[in-house]
Point group: C2
Chain length 200, copies 2
């Protein structure tokens, strides 16, 4: 591992705070639980909480394994095939969340409910998607793509296909695989008749 002891302790503490916070949220509701209460329950000071996550919503938007996440994205990214990239990443995260052999390092689905149902968290996630959009748009433009086309395509896949599929998957009770929704969403944009709603 390329992480020092301090870095590993930090990540462990962050995961502990996240799990403690979600337990409190499940019991009392997101808005009713204060950052001070989360920090106290997790055994850290509020000041440290803010140093870790920046904001209360940062619990859901901070990439707690930034190194891994960056590697995964860089590894799967294909700017000429955005739907394929999205599907591969969703597939990777999904298998990682349901491990068959090793221990799950991190279960990213425990907080999805708050991402979709809590307005403040949802808002923060939009900002995170916004940041990612900007980076991907810049990357796509560096390959020679038209600025407007690049911007619209990236944003449509992230805010439209990805977030839309995630929400519909959640609303439907998480029965069918998320990947099915992502594929159907990609088909909406790539379909020969365009994304007009008249073909439902």
């Amino acid at each position: 591992m390329a992480l020092t002891l301090r870095q590993r302790n930090r990540l462990a503490a962050m995961h502990h705070i996240i799990e403690t916070a979600i337990d409190l949220f499940d019991e009392h509701g997101y808005t009713a639980v204060t950052v001070e209460q989360v920090a106290a329950a997790a055994g850290v000071s509020p000041r440290t909480f803010y140093r870790y996550f920046g904001t209360k919503e940062g619990l859901f938007t901070t990439d707690t394994h930034a190194a891994i996440g960056q590697d995964l994205l860089a590894e799967q990214l294909d700017l000429d095939d955005l739907p394929g990239t999205l599907e591969r990443i969703v597939a990777s995260v999904h298998t990682a969340a349901a491990p068959s052999g090793g221990a799950a390092l991190y279960t990213p689905w425990s907080g999805v409910r708050y991402v979709l149902e809590e307005p403040a968290v949802r808002e923060a996630v939009y900002t995170a998607l916004d940041d990612l959009s900007e980076r991907l748009t810049a990357a796509l433009r560096s390959t020679g793509a038209d600025p407007t086309r690049a911007r619209v395509a990236v944003r449509s896949y992230l805010f439209g296909v990805y977030f839309g599929a995630l929400e519909q998957w959640h609303l439907d009770g998480r029965v069918r695989p998320l990947l099915d929704y992502v594929k159907e969403g990609s088909a909406v944009l790539a379909g020969p008749s365009g994304p007009s709603g008249s073909s439902g």
Copy 2:
């Protein structure tokens, strides 16, 4: 007019507060100006400011002519032709903002800079788009459209085409008409080859 005296006074006061606020923002910056300062400069109490706009960012997301806005949307809305709907609304707002004969009731472009450049405002606008997405998705579903297809299509047009076009238009210095960007954005989604970035 269908508005009572109280309603007209309220709208006039809101417009006055908005203009006062933007003047202060232009001079000192958005974050450096407090709600208390805006309220004092506009001659109202902070409590009234919050009753009008809900939040500081509500200055940019509150529809100050809700009745007119709703009429416009309902009038132009065609669920079978989302790109056409978007283009007609953009065209309407643009002509309203550059009046040739009568006086401009409202200039919606004075605050666009903050919508795109100020993170807190941008975030709030995302939530406003999110609300609109939900309403349009519900309307589209009521026509028999597939849930996932409806959700992805609406969100792609609002977050991808509309917001993306607005941002690129702003980044390019607002030289070409916004409508051009919207049309190009719509073409990205409706194009025969799909929204992949390889055709730039």
